[in-house]
């Protein structure tokens, strides 16, 4: 029933990092913001809507912050939004399992804003820790409404919405508060409102935690874990990839028969250009992604990533970076554009810039298939996993070397401080999150295949059929040879600027000189592999790691730095590294 009296309420969700703001946000709005158990997951502002009865709620999910005077980019975004008081109601989300620290921010917000609702989230986790929270007492002491929630399970959300509704209707009056030291006040309030029962259920998790970050086993376990993930990805993707290719091959034959009435060029553009490129990208891309992302999500959800950053900080510090850069590299494994944006969690502007410029040197998922295919040249099947893992390691070494050089030359700065919360281990919400990461990514890849691979496929087909591709390849041949590859491969790198996934399809299409990509799906790979010397394969793999970032990443760099010069640097830096390493390899091998 449409009514004229729909009230619109803007609600800001503020709070410390990693207290479940995004989970709460997703529950309330039905959106699928990425969540994970580590501080800094949300670096931008997300907005979502909810209609309930005659109220239209507009939720603003802010990046987590420890104080209103934060120093890093993401904290500034949150601090500014809260202090400008554009929201009708500010919900401060607190972590029930460590209320004391969460209350410090809540008290700061209460000093600056009227219409505040304090939402104590994660009460289920607090209960597991043996903590009981007296919401009534808390509300009295804070002189503001308090709601207990467990957003992961959807508990307390109705009460929260009722309270938001009620609070937003009041005039925003700043209440007089008696305290002046939020830290001492938080301690006093927590002491009065939280009762602790001793529990020994924690001891097991603590033991696992101690093992995972222990001095002796921490680093080896981390390497094993990462190797395991890469191995599962490479090994597991093999079969579904073949299956998909077979299905698409059949589809090609069927379609070909169906469209036989069309003129040859239209037939070619549609089938050999459009269809073949799209299906190939999907067949090669989708299976590794569908395995890698859920596995990685588990690590994220459990809370392993901050521990990795902890273990890696000493190494990163040597190169003028910090452990948080390791987190952005992990994000880069999924997608470099996301990794570049994640650099907002880094406090020092110089370290942040260096992290942005080098992020593309860790291979993203779009480059995995190329590495897997070339890796299989040396080792059959699962052995390729080691090659891929070595490539990832090489990429990380590259990042560290370049960051180190930058921090000692153009980006010289005082060694900065590093401060990072390490959250408790949480049980991963397997079903919910794995399905989400699978579906979201699947749609993303399918969408990308359509928007990038489809036009690229058509253009490529036309170029291949006007022998333009081969002439261009011949032109690039000297440079390609100098870099230890050949003209065709270099050409393919240039053409895959919009998306790294295009690399192998372009190589195949040019190499076979063919009008059709489909006819070469199975045969072509063998052809490709047999025409490559192992030296060329090594150089191609190195260049896959170190060359210009894809256009999406470059655009993200521009958005983050607002500088064409820095974007150009992000383009040239890895390219220069790739050229130098490839030329050296070419001389040595």
């Amino acid at each position: 029933m449409a009514s004229a009296s729909v009230r619109q309420i803007t609600v800001a969700l503020a709070g410390n990092p990693n207290v479940g703001k995004s989970t709460l946000f997703n529950r309330l709005t039905g959106l699928h913001q990425h969540t994970g158990n580590w501080p800094g997951k949300t670096v931008g502002v997300a907005v979502g809507q909810l209609r309930r009865q005659n109220v239209q709620y507009r939720f603003v999910d802010l990046p987590g912050t420890y104080s209103l005077e934060g120093t890093s980019e993401d904290e500034c975004i949150a601090g500014e939004y809260i202090t400008q008081e554009t929201a009708d109601c500010t919900v401060v989300v607190c972590d029930g399992s460590c209320l004391e620290r969460s209350l410090i921010l809540a008290l700061q917000v209460l000093q600056r804003c009227g219409n505040v609702v304090v939402c104590v989230n994660l009460v289920d986790e607090a209960q597991r820790h043996g903590l009981q929270i007296d919401a009534y007492r808390l509300s009295q002491m804070l002189d503001t409404p308090v709601v207990l929630t467990a957003a992961g399970r959807g508990e307390g959300l109705k009460e929260l919405l009722d309270q938001i509704d009620q609070t937003a209707q009041q005039m925003p009056i700043l209440k007089k508060h008696a305290w002046d030291d939020p830290v001492a006040e938080a301690e006093r309030i927590t002491f009065a409102c939280v009762t602790r029962e001793s529990t020994d259920r924690e001891s097991f998790r603590r033991k696992v935690d101690r093992l995972l970050v222990s001095r002796r086993f921490g680093v080896p376990l981390m390497l094993l874990l990462l190797l395991g993930i890469v191995w599962l990805t490479v090994w597991g993707a093999n079969y579904p990839s073949m299956l998909l290719e077979a299905v698409f091959d059949t589809g090609y034959t069927r379609l070909s028969a169906l469209l036989s009435g069309l003129p040859w060029w239209l037939h070619g553009v549609l089938l050999d250009g459009l269809y073949a490129t799209c299906t190939r990208v999907i067949a090669v891309m989708l299976p590794p992604m569908a395995i890698f992302f859920p596995l990685f999500t588990i690590l994220e959800d459990v809370g392993y990533l901050p521990r990795m950053a902890f273990l890696l900080d000493p190494a990163m510090a040597h190169c003028g970076g910090c452990g948080k850069q390791a987190l952005t590299l992990c994000m880069g494994l999924g997608c470099n554009a996301v990794g570049v944006m994640g650099c907002r969690i880094i406090d020092s502007p110089r370290e942040r810039l260096s992290a942005i410029l080098t992020n593309a040197m860790v291979p993203c998922n779009g480059r995995f298939p190329t590495l897997i295919l070339l890796g299989s040249l040396f080792f059959p099947e699962a052995g390729a996993a080691f090659v891929v893992a070595a490539c990832v390691a090489l990429g990380v070494v590259g990042v560290m070397v370049v960051s180190g050089v930058l921090s000692k030359t153009v980006l010289r700065s005082e060694p900065s401080t590093f401060i990072m919360e390490i959250p408790p281990f949480r049980r991963p919400r397997l079903g919910q999150i794995l399905v989400r990461s699978l579906l979201d990514r699947t749609l993303f890849v399918a969408g990308r295949a359509l928007t990038v691979a489809a036009p690229a496929g058509i253009v490529l087909w036309v170029l291949a059929n006007t022998s333009f591709l081969s002439r261009l390849a011949a032109f690039l041949e000297p440079l390609g040879v100098l870099l230890g590859m050949n003209g065709i491969i270099l050409l393919a790198f240039i053409f895959s600027l919009p998306a790294n996934e295009l690399l192998i399809p372009v190589i195949l299409m040019t190499m076979t000189q063919a009008q059709s990509l489909q006819s070469v799906s199975g045969v072509g790979q063998t052809l490709l592999l047999s025409s490559l010397t192992w030296q060329m394969a090594v150089c191609t793999m190195v260049f896959t790691l170190f060359h210009w970032p894809c256009s999406t990443t470059l655009m993200t760099v521009y958005r983050e730095t607002k500088s064409l010069k820095k974007t150009a640097a992000a383009f040239l830096l890895p390219t220069a590294v790739g050229c130098i390493v490839c030329m050296l390899l070419n001389l040595l091998l």
């Binding site: 410090i104 921010l105 830290v183």
Partner: protein, 75 residues
């Protein structure tokens, strides 16, 4: 006994007496609730000992051991 926080042994506890780091870090530590009077425990260190994870006010926070030299604790 009063020592600097970087010398607090693994698993040991202490009470913060003073925080004399540079202003930005002091502010950040304050946001986490590390002020004089806070009780801290040393949870774990990296192999080289350059990063230390401290537990205080129910949270575990990782810091460079170098920065802890400016924080005094009584244990």
């Amino acid at each position: 006994m009063e020592i600097t926080l970087d010398r607090l042994g693994l698993g040991k506890q202490g009470t913060v007496m003073s925080v004399d780091t540079d202003a930005p870090l002091k502010r950040r530590l304050g946001a986490f609730g590390m002020v004089p009077g806070t009780s801290v425990a040393c949870r774990y260190r990296t192999p080289g000992g350059s990063v230390t994870a401290l537990e205080f006010r129910g949270t575990v926070v990782a810091l460079r051991t170098r920065d802890l030299k400016k924080i005094r604790v009584r244990c």
